[in-house]
């Protein structure tokens, strides 16, 4: 079996990216480490202030829609874009079909 040169390039790119990612994981804090920056800085603030700030017992919702509302606005825009993109790519208007038939 002959292997295409482009596929070899793609394979090398995948291996290289995977190696880089694994190398980067080395510097991550241990799983569930209470001393990691995320657990000492942001999380306690959310847990302590979510109810006084937002009157929302579900902290996930408070973080999603309030503290990180800008992020969720982007997510909603992504969903909107996905719907519109599907419409533009797949939908064939009536006059185009008639043209194809003639």
């Amino acid at each position: 079996m002959k292997i295409m040169p482009l596929k070899m390039v793609a394979f090398a790119a995948v291996v290289l990216t995977g190696a880089l990612l694994l190398y980067g994981v080395e510097d991550m804090p241990a799983w569930g480490d209470p001393q990691s920056p995320a657990n000492t800085h942001v999380s306690p603030r959310y847990i302590e202030n979510a109810i006084p700030d937002t009157a929302t017992p579900n902290i996930v919702t408070a973080v999603l829609a309030d503290y990180r509302g800008y992020d969720t606005l982007g997510e909603t825009t992504v969903i909107f874009t996905a719907g519109i993109a599907c419409l533009y790519i797949l939908r064939r208007p009536r006059n185009q079909r008639r043209k194809e038939r003639d």
């Binding site: 109810i51 006084p52 700030d53 937002t54 009157a55 929302t56 017992p57 579900n58 996930v60 919702t61 408070a62 999603l64 829609a65 309030d66 509302g69 800008y70 969720t72 606005l73 997510e75 909603t76 825009t77 969903i79 909107f80 996905a82 719907g83 519109i84 599907c86 419409l87 790519i89 797949l90 939908r91 064939r92 009536r94 079909r97 008639r98």
Partner: protein, 153 residues
């Protein structure tokens, strides 16, 4: 598959009974996102799934009379508009973008409560957008882009 309505009476009856319950449950998931797992994304998907069920059982022609293509596209953009509109309203009321505490100037319920209400409004917007996107993508993929009103010409 989707062009005709189902011949099966059981399928149609069960769908007719279940769709309102699914939709009420979806509204519950959206509105109860403050207290339990859920929110706009999940509730919107359930709402969209209820309409997809309607499409599967009753066929495109009949279901599109309730949820047409134009309405779907309109609701898709309306959802994002509600979200962005609430954000801009906060800006106009003197706060930061998406800082719902400034909504207190028109709601008069206190900063924390107005944040809670702001979250609810945003979730409703997300729910509408996700529902419409689900239906729109389902329609376009299941039909390959040729919708039934095209067949008449």
């Amino acid at each position: 598959m989707l062009s005709r309505e189902s011949d099966n009476l059981i399928v149609k009856t069960v769908v007719r009974i279940f769709v309102p319950f699914i939709q009420v449950y979806a509204l519950y998931v959206i509105a109860h996102g403050h207290y339990s797992p859920g929110g706009g994304f999940q509730g919107g998907v359930i709402l969209g799934a209820s309409i997809v069920l309607l499409f599967l059982a009753y066929g495109r022609r009949q279901a599109m009379r309730r949820m047409g293509e134009g309405l779907t596209a309109f609701m898709n953009s309306t959802g994002v508009f509600i979200y962005g509109g609430i954000g801009l309203l906060c800006l106009l009321l003197g706060g930061n973008l998406l800082d719902y505490a400034s909504l207190d100037r028109i709601l008069h319920v206190g900063a924390a409560q107005s944040r809670s209400l702001g979250i609810l409004g945003v979730e409703v917007g997300v729910g509408i957008a996700v529902m419409a996107a689900m239906i729109s993508i389902f329609l376009d993929i299941s039909t390959g882009g040729d919708l039934p009103d095209d067949d008449n010409d």
